[in-house]
Point group: C2
Chain length 457, copies 2
């Protein structure tokens, strides 16, 4: 029964998020969102699929070859075209930047500057799934447009670092590696490489880590690049904590190091970042600063990547608009969080019930029990109860504890006198509370207790 | 330049969410999420695309004809098959229930009962976009599995009503219309309609509102249904607030009214719901309770729809698992919220900055200003500042007010004495605060002020 088995599985490279998986995803998303908002970014989103030509324009062949095609079976003309050419009118979004550039271009006249936007939807790549790479993944994007100063680059990098810090990382865990395409171009020019092949050379440099020495040499030869000369143009240790000493040398384009001064100005701990001449990024549209965030020892793929793309909005019909931003995916990030022991057991990210209502089983309690649960929910409490038939209060308290409830409300014999027992499941104490008319007494008491518990965190 | 224009637009029937649009979407999503959690549901998610055959199994021809196909251009075999048949291996999810049933079936043995799950991703239908219908939309799903009692149906309906109430609706705005497929089947059987054609008859009854009288008669004739007899079998006003009187009549299946007793038990205001014999739902998989939520006067399409689907998990290879749930989309909901005046101006849903930092322009202030903003963000504040060059404090306070900041921190001459001015932008008062060593004084003062402001809401 192949079909039967296949029906029970998510497509290869996609994920089912059961409650504990989802709670971890929401934990990461919450950090991303809070940090974005604190740093003055506003949330946006675009369609899950776009016209295919949005990506063929500028994403570069690496991404275009890995897109999922999308089509409506209802449109006969589209279907005929698809059958003939194998090309679909739409593509699942492989990245966010083209959507962002399109949205900015469409409303360029009315948007106040700078534009600071973030988003965190899912993206799609038709790659072979492997460690750190899935076919559907979530990705945080933060972009600042309309500000060409290195201050904007520094703001964007500080935002990424703030998120890493709140997730529990320190500079000994992860590193922001910075470079500047202008710097790299300056060096390439200085050793006589023609501007026309810069895109191919940058793509080759970006791929260097993933190629064997042999493959690298072959591709360099195809571009007629003298590898010895290339290597001697970058004679330094790849990662530099202090590049200021370099400024005097005339082979360096000093202004491309201004980002570092800005990072110092805003007091970002210099242990977080280093200059790395080998970071060039694969995407075609970067024009200045480029950076990647890596696990400190170099394990795994990049956690995040970004840079300055000052020409892209124009390409989508907008006015000249300087822009800088980054994207951080959830897949590699989660792997490294787990490796560093920075994720609690998944269940602990599930929302805690405020109250677990227990009926001790006698007549009035049984009658009041379900309306009370419904009432507490309408009052804004996360309220649970057992669906089991047992009336054993000890067992039910066990279930309440397992659900990580803060308080148990026990409807027992005290109900005859207008009281219920409220038990603190963290501290262990318990007290009788007057239900009050229409349960107002209990509701007020629980509101106060829950607020106190939440403030104590 | 057709291509140029098209590149600047989202595909037909999809949406760009600029910050204000996104803030409204997050407002609705927040209500959905909080209500789900309060009612004991846990969040899940599945892939954005699934194997096509997941839907062909049981979603019914209405949905299958409106699916978007998805394929990887990299897989040669898949591409050949697609070119030959026009059928894609994957489909963008048109609804959530098949994914849910697949996920339950895959882990049926280890999941504790009842299973109470919710989700709120986006879904896709390749329909002609029209009022209330888009090609990509967001939808809240809440489902309870493993409990066959009418209590589960009532819990699920109470969850939907709680969300409607928190969004600002009352029973005079929207109505939950309830029916039971067993009841309808009982009536059809009683007038001699054969069980084999029940699916077609139910689909016809569901479509009745959307068909002309002529179309309806023609399709009824195709099924050899005597319309006069059908009408006389449902002789009552469609919406009944009190069906208990009906229980005596032997043409009614009394136990299918038990849901109403359960809704009374949990004290749900009876003004919220009515029995409506015309609600049957289009999807093939419902087996008992069915319900829709409509604008009270009948304007617009349904806001939500749901029901009991006790056979679906088995169909995906799981054990027999009773199940009940609903889906509420964002498109019709937003239309009706807007029509009833229940949405504030969109900007008011944007997160409020806690603090707007202003430099009055003299030397020490200019030097301290950007590190302070960065510091406040690291301390967890939503902190903003102006990117304009003006040092006019009045103008900058105007910008802070427009951004809806709670407090302004003004770095002025007081800085020489170790103080800054904190201005309350809601109340208008202002006071000098000692910055303290490493800004600790200001940070502590702002934490207290922001907490107080947020508690006052």
């Amino acid at each position: 029964m192949t079909t039967g088995t296949r029906k029970r599985q998510a497509p290869k490279g996609t994920r089912d998020f059961y409650p504990a998986d989802m709670a971890v995803r929401r934990h990461i998303e919450k950090v991303w969102r809070e940090v974005s908002i604190n740093h003055g970014f506003e949330e946006i989103d675009g369609p899950t699929f776009e016209h295919t030509d949005l990506y063929t324009v500028k994403s570069g062949p690496g991404i275009v070859s890995e897109m999922f095609g999308v089509f409506s079976g209802k449109d006969e003309a589209e279907l005929e075209e698809l059958k003939r050419t194998g090309r679909a009118p739409f593509a699942l979004r492989p990245e966010f930047t083209p959507t962002l550039a399109r949205m900015v271009a469409a409303r360029a006249a009315e948007l106040p500057r700078p534009i600071k936007w973030f988003s965190m939807p899912t993206f799609f790549r038709a790659e072979r799934p492997q460690r750190g790479r899935l076919r559907e993944f979530q990705q945080w994007n933060a972009d600042m447009l309309g500000d060409e100063s290195p201050q904007a680059d520094a703001e964007v990098i500080a935002t990424a670092v703030d998120a890493l810090e709140r997730l529990g990382f320190g500079p000994s865990d992860v590193q922001v590696l910075v470079n500047d395409r202008r710097q790299v171009s300056h060096i390439l020019r200085s050793i006589g490489i023609a501007e026309e092949i810069f895109p191919e050379v940058l793509a080759l440099l970006d791929a260097q880590d993933r190629l064997t020495d042999d493959q690298f040499r072959r591709r360099a030869a195809e571009l007629s690049i003298d590898i010895e000369r290339l290597n001697s143009a970058f004679p330094l240790p790849a990662r530099l904590r202090d590049v200021h000493a370099l400024k005097g040398e005339d082979r360096w384009l000093s202004e491309s190091f201004d980002l570092l001064r800005e990072l110092q100005t805003i007091d970002l701990d210099p242990q977080w970042y280093a200059w790395d001449f080998s970071i060039v990024r694969g995407l075609a549209y970067y024009t200045g600063t480029v950076f990647e965030i890596h696990e400190a020892s170099g394990a795994e793929r990049a956690i995040a990547g970004g840079g300055r793309y000052d020409k892209l909005v124009e390409l989508f019909g907008g006015p000249p608009t300087p822009a800088v931003g980054f994207a951080m995916g959830d897949v590699v990030l989660s792997l490294i969080l787990r490796d560093k022991g920075l994720l609690k057991p998944a269940d602990e990210y599930l929302p805690r019930p405020h109250v677990f209502v227990i009926s001790a089983g006698d007549e009035p309690a049984e009658k009041e029990f379900r309306p009370l649960v419904a009432r507490l929910r309408r009052e804004g409490f996360h309220a649970r109860h057992s669906y089991k038939t047992t009336k054993n209060v000890g067992k039910l308290l066990g279930e309440a504890g397992k659900a990580r409830a803060m308080f148990a409300v026990i409807l027992g014999r005290e109900l005859a006198g207008g009281h219920v027992v409220v038990k603190d499941l963290d501290g262990g104490g318990q007290r009788e509370v007057a239900r009050g008319e229409d349960w107002h007494g209990l509701v007020a008491s629980l509101h106060a207790a829950v607020r106190e518990r939440e403030e104590a965190r």
